[in-house]
């Protein structure tokens, strides 16, 4: 399997960049909820509804999806050798992740509706 999309420096860089964003966002959210806010429905709903938090959470899941795609892709390329099975599983993972992305968009829209 030597498709350009499946090798190279770009996924390696993307994996690190998404990882760094995930760490930064988690620290941001943890500090806020551990030290500056009590966990109640009103506080939680208000926080998620804020424009900047919607953007940051959207970026968080975008980073999760990119990170998961590269990670699972690496696992499949390492352990699944038969071409057709590998292609099928990669396709399934892609559908799963893109579907998850649309689900998050729906959640974010409903929160503000």
């Amino acid at each position: 399997m030597s498709m350009v999309a499946l090798e190279g420096l770009r996924p390696w860089v993307l994996q690190r960049l998404s990882a760094v964003y995930l760490v930064v966002y988690i620290i941001y959210a943890l500090i806020y909820w551990l030290f500056f806010q009590t966990v109640t429905f009103a506080n939680w709903h208000g926080w998620i509804s804020q424009d900047h938090n919607q953007v940051l959470l959207g970026l968080f899941y975008l980073a999760v999806l990119i990170h998961a795609w590269i990670g699972i892709r690496d696992i499949l390329l390492d352990y699944i050798k038969p071409f057709l099975l590998r292609l099928l599983l990669l396709f399934g993972v892609a559908v799963f992740l893109i579907g998850s992305g649309f689900w998050l968009i729906k959640i974010l829209i409903v929160v503000n509706a």
């Binding site: 709903h45 992740l97 998850s100 689900w103």
Partner: protein, 126 residues
């Protein structure tokens, strides 16, 4: 000839993996678990922002003895993946490269992880 005594196959039970190798394999394993947990996280997020009642369902789920094992498994996966991942980022920056630094930083990961898990368990369940 010394080459005759080399193993002819990979017997996973005869390989003594160093601690850095063990936490690395678990980085991969926990990554797979977290991948499976993506829709679970979305489902819980969706419930948690719906209304007070659904929000309470989610917080109760965190504390229920039935789901406690899975919540802890996911939380541990998350903590392990995060801490070992940060170690890999340091390795990218050429820290922890020699044998001792690799070993000590790997044990450091285990210690930090145990402390974080103790705090989580204390905070959630005690």
């Amino acid at each position: 000839m010394s080459s005759d005594t080399r193993p002819k196959y990979l017997n996973l039970f005869k390989i003594k993996l160093p601690i850095a190798g063990i936490i690395s394999i678990f980085h991969r394993l926990t990554g797979l678990l977290l991948f499976i947990a993506i829709p679970v996280s979305l489902y819980l997020l969706q419930l948690s922002v719906k209304d007070v009642h659904s929000f309470t369902t989610v917080t109760d789920l965190m504390l229920s003895p039935l789901t406690r094992f899975f919540i802890l498994l996911i939380l541990w996966s998350f903590v392990h993946h995060l801490i070992t991942g940060m170690r890999f980022l340091f390795i990218d920056l050429e820290f922890f490269l020699d044998k001792n630094a690799s070993r000590y930083s790997a044990w450091g990961v285990v210690v930090i992880e145990a402390i974080i898990m103790a705090i989580i368990i204390k905070g959630l369940f005690l």
